[in-house]
Structure formats: C-alpha cells, structure tokens
C-alpha cells in the first residue's frame, strides 16, 4: 500500500481536521465528533444531513455549505458512521424546522441512520429521511438488500439543498426526495480496485486488461468482468443498460453526471463524456439539460467511473441543480 498517510487508523480523523482547516471559511468540524458542519445556520430552514463511510471524498463533507448540506457525518473508511455521531450531525443541522437525512442504501447505513433518527426523536427533533438507491447494476428484488446508493446521491444533495435553502418544509423535502429517487439511475465500472488504508491491500483483483461493470463504490462486485474496450464501447454498454431501465423517448430531459472514482484522470472522463454525447444527444436524441463531469462520489483510489442520469420531472429541478452554492466539492 503506497499512500500519503500517517497511521492507517488515524486517517479519518486527520482528514477531517485537514479539510476543516483548508476550508475554514466554509465549514467547521464539531469538536470530538466526525461531523463537518457549515458555519452559519441558514434562517429557520430544514436541516439537511448526509454521510456514510469515509473514502468517497469529496462526498460528503465536500457538499456542506450554503445552498447544499447543513452537515455531513463521516464513518470509518467504507463503514457507516454510528448513531451517536449521526445524532451530533442532526443536532448541528437543526434550526427548529426538522432535519432531513440523505442515506445511501447499504444495510449498515440504513440501520445506523435509523437508530440515529430514534435518538433524535427522543430529543424532540423532527427527523425524516430518504434512502437513495440509484445503482441499476444490482437487481432490485426482495432477494437482495436492494439497489445501492451511489453517485446519484450527489444530485439528491444538490436538489434538496437548493429546496431547503429556498424554504421548503420537511414534508415538501421528503416528497421531493422520493420523486428524485424514483428518477435517478446510475451505473459504474472499475479498471482497478480501491485500497482501504485500514485493510492495507486492494479490495479485489483485476488483471492487467480486465474491467468490471456494475461495481459498487466500496468495491462490491459488479455484474460482469470483461477485457478493457475502447471508451465508445464502454459508453455504449452504459447507455444500453440505462435505456433498458429508463425506457426514454427522444426529447426527454435529463441531468447527466459523469463521476470519476478517484484515480481516473479528467482526461479520460472527458473522452468518455464525448462518447456519451454521440450516444445520448446524437442517437437517442435526449435533451441533456444539465451536465457535470468530475470526481464527486469516489471509492478512494479506484480507477473507473460511473454515469448517472436523472430524469427531469419539473423545471424547478434544473433551477435547483444550477442554484448557487458555497461548498468545497460541487
């Protein structure tokens, strides 16, 4: 393992301190917690809290700030944060109008956020939540823990953040979140595995010319392992997979996110985006009303990328996506 760290089990703590130091104009770390919160509370708005295991930087602390999240709670690397920490995040976010939790669909995250919600309710804070499950690589059936939450979560942060900043109530945010979740679809691939510093060796193995489609953001296995293909063909595979799921028509409006997994150069992300252009705008004639390319929901040092499409149901979603924010990572 070749990493710029000190002790592996201090990584999360030191990372949070480094982040809070570097961006002290935007965020602060709540002392003795793993919570990164924005400085100033907005004015009687619904608080928005996200979080999850560390290793997905800039998620989630990178989206804390004006117009987006109120607080983010970090767990150990690839491990859900614990209920007591999430409770601290909820308290930091609370402005008396209730707090909304954005949770990715992993058993651990769901259970820990759920316990935190129970704890917060004991302290008379209204809490509601959405469990984002955008990863179409996983079959959605009663025989699995359901679809995983991946990069689509970033769109959730952005849209709910703008809505909260614009004064939406807890109930309105809950309703909006369910509609966004019903319309967001992601699919990813890996060229090389991530190495969790606390584990010290790669989470899986890929041969020199192998890639894996449908990988999760913690190195969960995907649906097929193949030899590396040109970017165009990778894009084609993603688009056909998504098309089967979404069943779109020409002129349908979408927001697009091409997300790097941590070690994929922007160069490759833009080449891939160019291939998506030909397929989505060209062949499929979709209307891509919002686009974003870069590292937003990473898996430490995994090489690979994911594609997220959000079907736009309302003009306001585009406005929310374009809503100005003051955060580290958007």
């Amino acid at each position: 393992m070749k990493k710029i760290i000190n002790q592996p089990d201090h990584v999360v703590d030191e990372m949070l301190d480094g982040l809070a130091f570097a961006y002290d104009s935007i965020v602060k770390r709540i002392p003795d917690t793993t919570v990164i919160a924005r400085h100033l509370k907005a004015d009687k708005r619904v608080g928005l809290v996200s979080g999850g295991g560390s290793g997905h930087e800039p998620s989630h602390a990178g989206f804390v700030g004006k117009g987006m999240l109120s607080a983010a709670v970090a767990g150990q690397v690839f491990t859900s944060p614990t209920p007591d920490q999430i409770l601290e995040g909820i308290k930091a976010a609370d402005e008396g109008q209730g707090v909304f939790l954005i949770v990715k669909n992993y058993t651990g995250d769901v259970m820990n956020f759920d316990m935190a919600k129970e704890l917060a309710e004991l302290e008379d804070i209204d809490v509601d939540f959405i469990v984002v499950d955008d990863d179409i690589a996983v079959e959605d059936s009663t025989f699995t823990a359901g679809r995983r939450g991946v990069a689509g979560t970033v769109f959730m942060h952005k849209i709910l953040g703008a809505a909260a900043d614009s004064g939406a109530t807890l109930e309105e945010i809950k309703a909006l979140s369910e509609r966004v979740n019903a319309n967001v679809y992601s699919i990813g691939l890996a060229l090389s595995p991530a190495t969790n510093p606390e584990v010290g060796k790669p989470g899986f193995e890929l041969d020199g010319d192998e890639i894996e489609f449908g990988i999760g953001i913690h190195g969960e296995p995907g649906y097929s392992r193949e030899t590396l293909k040109p970017s165009k063909e990778l894009a084609q595979e993603f688009v056909s997979k998504l098309k089967k799921e979404i069943d779109w028509n020409p002129e349908d409006r979408f927001a697009l996110l091409v997300n790097g997994m941590g070690a994929t150069p922007l160069m490759e992300q833009f080449v891939f985006t160019n291939d998506l252009k030909a397929l989505l705008e060209g062949e499929e004639q979709l209307n891509l009303a919002f686009k974003k390319v870069g590292d937003y929901m990473t898996a430490i040092d995994m090489a690979g990328l994911s594609l997220t499409l959000l079907k736009i149901e309302e003009d306001s979603w585009i406005d929310y996506l374009n809503y100005p924010v003051d955060v580290i990572g958007w």
Partner: protein, 195 residues
C-alpha cells in the same frame, strides 16, 4: 463468582477471540463483503473492554447497556447496530430475568427487529437462531454452534452487503455468523450456563 462476573468473563473472552481473529474475520468479509468485519468488531470490543474495565457492575442491566452502547457507537457498519441492538435488548430483558436463554432470546429479538433477517438469509441470525433454540432446550453444545456456522456456507445471501453477490455468495462462511459463533463458544467456556 457472582452472575455478573461470569457474564463479564464471557465478554472479556469474546473480546480476546475477536482481537485474535480480526484478520480472519476481515478475510471472510473480503470474500463476500467489504473486508472490514474484523476491524469493525475489533474497534467495538476494545471500546467495550475499556468501558467495563472502568465500571463496577452490580446489575446485569447496566452491564448489557454499556456493552450495547459501546458497540453501537464504535462498530459502525451493519454489525454495529445489530450487536448493539442485541445487547440493548438484553439490557431491557435483564430487568425481568437473569436466565441466559431468555436473555439471549431477547438479544436475537433485538437483531431481527433491527435487521429484519429471517433464518436462511446467510447472516448472524443463522447462528443466533439455532443457538437460542438449543439454549431454551438446555442442550447447547459446541457442536450446535459449529453446525450453525457451517450451515451459512451453502446459503445464498439475501440480506446485507453479501446479497449483491447473488449466487456467488454461496460457498463462503458469513463473517457475522463467525463472530457470533465466537460469542457463543465463549459463552460456553465462560461458564455462564453452569450452575
């Protein structure tokens, strides 16, 4: 030895087992999960040990509550809330009883309420469930634990992270079942059931 002491001795033997087998548990979790179950549990039992070393427990309720809260706040992941809920549930039950089989049944209850897994889904429940059955019959032996643990090998995971693997989860022992097996082996060894 008072009852509390036996339970404490159990937990401290469990702690030792987890620390000793941290890498093994990570290894099992690498095969069908994300490779951290050993690290997660290790963090948890160390926190438990630190907590109960400071305390002076007269009441089982206080002991179980401290164990549960330490696990909840230190383990994280899926296993944290599950083991935590087990002990918090045992804490509640211990106000009414000190019968190990009833206490551990309450623990299993805490786990299934939180995780909603049925037997056969390749989780820790597949150890807890048969063990609690045997406990209630008063017949629990190491062989029951071993058998329950082994049974997870041929199961297909339909709960937790391993469920993403589908059929590929078959052929591996479930890591949470393994840590639960340590829990019950040490329960036998610590003499909690003897009297």
């Amino acid at each position: 030895m008072s009852t509390t002491e036996k339970w404490i001795s159990w937990i401290s033997q469990f702690t030792d087992q987890i620390i000793e087998h941290k890498a093994d548990l990570n290894q099992l979790d690498s095969a069908i999960g994300d490779g951290d179950h050993g690290s997660n549990m290790d963090r948890g039992v160390k926190a438990v040990k630190e907590k109960i070393d400071q305390g002076d427990y007269e009441e089982l309720t206080d002991l179980f509550k401290d164990i549960g809260m330490s696990l909840v706040s230190k383990v994280g992941g899926a296993s944290g809330p599950l083991y935590g809920s087990a002990f918090i549930s045992m804490a509640k039950a211990s106000k009414e009883t000190d019968d190990p089989s009833l206490l551990l049944e309450a623990g299993l209850d805490g786990i299934t309420k939180r995780g909603k897994a049925d037997p056969g889904e390749k989780t820790m429940v597949d150890v807890w469930h048969p063990v609690v059955d045997s406990l209630k019959k008063g017949t629990l032996a190491q062989s029951d634990i071993d058998e329950a643990l082994e049974s997870t090998k041929d199961m297909k995971a339909t709960k937790g992270r391993a469920s993403y693997l589908g059929d590929r989860s078959i052929g591996h022992i479930d890591p949470g079942a393994q840590s639960s097996a340590y829990l019950f082996s040490t329960l036998l060894e610590a003499g909690v059931l003897d009297d």
